[in-house]
Symmetry: none
Subunit: 249 residues, 2 copies
DNA sequence: TGGTGGCGGTTACAAGCCGTTACAATATTT
DNA sequence: AAATATTGTAACGGCTTGTAACCGCCACCA
């Protein structure tokens, strides 16, 4: 993998009162080519935002003093720096998040650094394209053919209600496909959309992901119903997808 | 043949009655990595839209038969496939366009292909972000001699009700023939209609497709009943074809 | 009547694409 | 550090599709 590029991919501000998490994320993100500044609370966050050119804020929901939520709102009011919130799992916070937050994405703890990285890339990419987009966080749920794909939770339920275990890459791929139903996505597009990679080198890794994914979600992986192949074109999600926001009312 | 077919950036449908323009755009866009289908009028446009997964339509304002403007409106009513209109320069059309048209962009003739490319990219990028609510996929069904050809599903049932497995190219060819019953279609026409290819070079690949197709659907392929050869002319579909439309689910 | 050349059917083959297995290289967890 | 899981690479095999080549058919003609 090409993680060793020390070029500047962006300056990330991590706001978390847990020192261990700060250190962990700091090391991890730096290893992946980001500049990182870590702070413990809202006051320091303010200072950092004024002193640096921050590209993305990773913000813990629970903070001493002013809590993450209001920080988030405040930040969003003044700028459109992308925000990723870290939350504890619970219905409660989920609802709060959906209703209140102006974050671009959120991640339930515990999360793998890898997941955070993926989200960050996605958010940064989105921000890149839409400099002034007013993205509202979505606890989006996609449903198709009885399946339930809960994006915020990164979970997938089968028509029988069983949780299906997808790897991170598999999940991202599935989400990407399901978000563009009926649309043929080339391998390159899929690579770009899931990994943010555009390296053009002919790459069959997507084929492998598709293959593995099909085994997990197609009733007969030799005759896929959901993810269809378009010869010479790529792949396409063939099911009817309905989209719900968790918190709409 | 298709040596440097790069990635698939999308499937473009070019609707223009001027063959020269069709050819030009076809070659140009393909060279730039797009799949291209070219048709001459609204009727063919319809078929292409139903048979393919079109990502963008390039539509000439002036067309024989139903004119581009109403086609555009009709298309917009049913789907949200992006549309780029080609127009003659004139205040008149400019105003009409602004008022009437549901197109995503328009381009006054004469234009440079390069310019079109830029517009296309912009429109596609915009469309990509707004996931479709379209896919009112109607499934056209053609019946002949007991056979059932379901276009939306790309499936073919024999008179015994058995599913017959056709390759992609075979299917397209059969659809094209069945949609012009009694009409003699030259090899060039077939090439154009099925592949959107206009490269007229003498090509016997159609012969091969026909041969393979006959083996699958004729009871005796040495004495074809459905697909007849017209010496010096091409091929013709000799059966009576009835057409049904159903709403797909 | 036998030759000739265009045309179409078919076989054989080459090239490309895709699914998959096996495995190597990392990452992550314990 | 060992055990596990994830992810990319290589490579085999099957299927699709286009090309070349051979062959027979037909029309035409001297």
């Amino acid at each position: 993998m090409n993680t060793s590029m020390a070029e500047n991919l962006g300056h990330i501000l991590v706001v978390d009162d847990d020192r261990e998490i700060r250190d962990l994320l700091g090391r991890f993100l730096k290893k992946h080519g980001y500049r990182v500044t870590t702070v413990a609370d809202g006051k320091e966050m303010q200072r950092a935002l004024e002193g640096w050119n921050i590209d993305l804020v990773v913000l813990d929901l629970m903070l001493p003093g002013e809590d993450g939520l209001s920080l988030c709102r405040g930040l969003r009011a003044k700028s459109n720096i992308p925000i990723i919130m870290l939350t504890m799992i619970s219905e409660e916070t989920d609802r709060i998040i959906g209703l209140e937050m102006g974050a671009d994405d959120y991640l339930p703890k515990p999360f793998s650094p890898r997941e955070l990285l993926a989200r960050m890339k996605a958010v940064l990419r989105r921000a890149q394209k839409t400099p002034n987009a007013n993205s509202t966080a979505r606890a989006k749920i996609l449903s198709f053919a009885g399946w339930t794909l809960e994006i915020g939770r990164r979970s997938l339920k089968s028509p029988d209600g069983l949780l299906v275990d997808l790897s991170s890459a598999e999940f991202d791929l599935l989400v990407t496909l399901a978000e563009h139903p009926q649309k043929v996505l080339s391998r390159d597009q899929l690579l770009d959309l899931t990994h943010g990679r555009t390296e053009a080198a002919f790459d069959r890794s997507i084929d492998m992901q598709i293959s593995r994914l099909r085994r997990k979600i197609e009733t007969d992986h030799t005759q896929p119903e959901l993810i269809k192949t378009v010869r010479g074109g790529g792949y396409t999600f063939a099911a009817v997808v309905t989209q719900d926001e968790t918190i709409d009312t």
